[in-house]
Amino acid sequence: MPRGIGALPLPGPATALSALLVLVLVAWLVVPGLFTSYDPLVGDSAEVFLAPSVAHPFGTDHLGRDVLARVIHGTTQTALTAGLAVLVGLALGTAIGLASSTLGPWADAISMRVIDALIALPAFMVALFVVSAYGAGPVSLGVGVGIGSIVLFARVTRAEVLRVRALDYVEASKLAGAGYFRQLFGHILPGAAGALIALAVVDFGAAVLAVSALGYLGFGTPPPTPEWGLIIAEGRNYLANAWWMTSLPGTFVLLVVVALGVLGRYLGKVTRA
């Protein structure tokens, strides 16, 4: 099927809003200082526990810090840790998927057994295991969470390669005498890239969820550096008098994960069209 613009499904309002939210996140990641004038680390002791207002849309915390400023600056930690997780899953998963689909029946049989084993290992337990072995921190957290998504990328890579390899132009290049790596990097991987990118976006959302959950438990970056899970954990002790410290950042994390899911599914549809 031709991949002209006319063949693309038009993005609906949900997709457009999700794309907008993701753009805002990218901006927060690159230049957080442009979006808030408050310091995320140093509070104003005269402004503790202020309810949400125009000056402080997410209110202030027990140290008088602007909660929105902490969420904006926290984007860096959360997004980089989740990004590391996606990279680990993408790199190792694609490698296993390629080995399974291009190196012959033995490699396929072994890779499929490894995939079965990775399905059986509970991802959350593996992440905690890596954190316990290497100590808490963003790097071990990202790697630990990433191991859990290897299996997703391995399966999609394998399925995509089998699909792309049967296409006429790949068959033609093989008959024309292209070598293994030329076929792989020239035809098969570019053909499979769309599905992998769509999956990476969905997986990034799942990684944000996992990273903030483990950050909430205290296994990410240590305070006072802002990170989404940690921000919510800090509000836990003030449920009775400052509902905004947990509710608003949490709603925000929820929206981000939903937006990444919507966007990833749209990309999946586009690449299949």
Partner: protein, 319 residues
């Protein structure tokens, strides 16, 4: 059927052996051994103590001996010993695991009920707009941070309504409310499978016939739509156990319930690697056995499965 059983059980053993190998490789990549890591923060620990404990746990032996030794222990049902307390892994969680099982099983039951509710409503409503909202519910549910949902629920029920004690008091409500929080994300994959079943079943000949004969919609749902997706639903429940375990650990933390969660998190903080490793094996064993049980009962629920899949295992379909 007997061949199917034997082949599935054999596959399960291979899966367990490979998971053991993966975790073993991860430990080998550590810059030092688990005992040194554990005792590093302890000022009173000198090299002699580290060596003694290492020898006790077998970390001083070459890697292939460690590999065989630990595998042998696992085959005998020994999951290792905690570095913090010296207790075996099973002893360590034996006293609290009942609380986790109660929470997890109640949560699983509620999640199945929620999933059935969502798919039944999607099947019964006529308005396409309303159906679109209902069909979107599972992907929303799987995006909710459980720890945050737990906090919000705690805030509403304990601080605003004052009907839930802040710490578990053994009442039914103190089990049901955390279980409901846990059930929300767990229900998402189950509901997705049931919704696909609803969509496909509406095209199936026997469902059309039942409808044409004028059967009541609720009856059509239970007897035809639900029954025909029962196999796929059981399969997905098997693969949801990982989410259930993660959700239970987090929910326990938020609601201050004793259980697997408190033992596990304390072990991670103390860097008690052998204990965490034992708990990883234990939960993997639960997942693998559940997948095996699911594969064995699915052909009984839906005989079409055995004919179409043969001996390759069915849980893969729902995964």
């Amino acid at each position: 059927m007997l061949r199917y059983l034997a082949s599935r059980a054999g596959q399960a053993l291979v899966v367990l052996w490979i998971t053991y190998t993966i975790v073993f490789v991860l430990i080998q990549t550590l810059p030092s051994d688990p005992v040194t890591i554990f005792l590093a923060s302890d000022a009173g620990a000198d090299q002699e103590l580290i060596d003694r404990v290492s020898a006790l746990y077998g970390y001083d032996r070459p890697w292939f001996e460690q590999y065989a030794l630990q595998l042998g222990n696992l085959l005998r049902g020994e999951f290792g010993f905690s570095l913090s307390t010296g207790q075996s892994v099973l002893e360590r969680i034996g006293s609290v695991v009942g609380s986790t099982l109660a929470l997890a099983s109640t949560g699983l039951l509620l999640s199945v009920l929620i999933a059935i509710g969502i798919s039944a409503i999607a099947f019964l409503v006529d308005s396409p707009r309303l159906r679109a909202v209902i069909v979107a519910a599972p992907s929303l549910f799987s995006s909710i941070p459980v720890f945050w949902l737990g906090i919000v629920v705690l805030q509403v029920f304990s601080f605003q309504l004052r009907i839930l004690s802040l710490f578990p008091d053994g009442s039914l409500l103190s089990l049901l409310i955390p279980a409901l929080v846990l059930a929300i994300p767990v229900s998402a994959p189950i509901a997705q499978v049931l919704l696909t079943g609803v969509e496909q079943a509406s095209e199936l000949a026997f469902v059309k016939t039942a409808r044409a004969k004028g059967a009541r919609p609720m009856r059509v749902f239970w007897h035809h739509v639900f029954r025909s997706s029962l196999g796929a639903t059981t399969a997905v429940i098997g693969t949801t156990l990982g989410v259930l375990i993660a959700g239970s650990v987090i929910t326990e933390t938020v609601f201050a319930r004793p259980g697997l969660g408190s033992v596990l998190l304390r072990a991670v903080i103390a860097q008690d690697v052998p204990l965490v490793q034992g708990l990883v094996f234990l939960t993997t064993l639960v997942v693998v056995v559940a997948a095996l049980v699911v594969d064995l009962i699915t052909p009984l629920l839906d005989p079409r499965v055995l004919r179409s899949v043969g001996t390759r295992g069915v849980s893969r379909l729902g995964a």
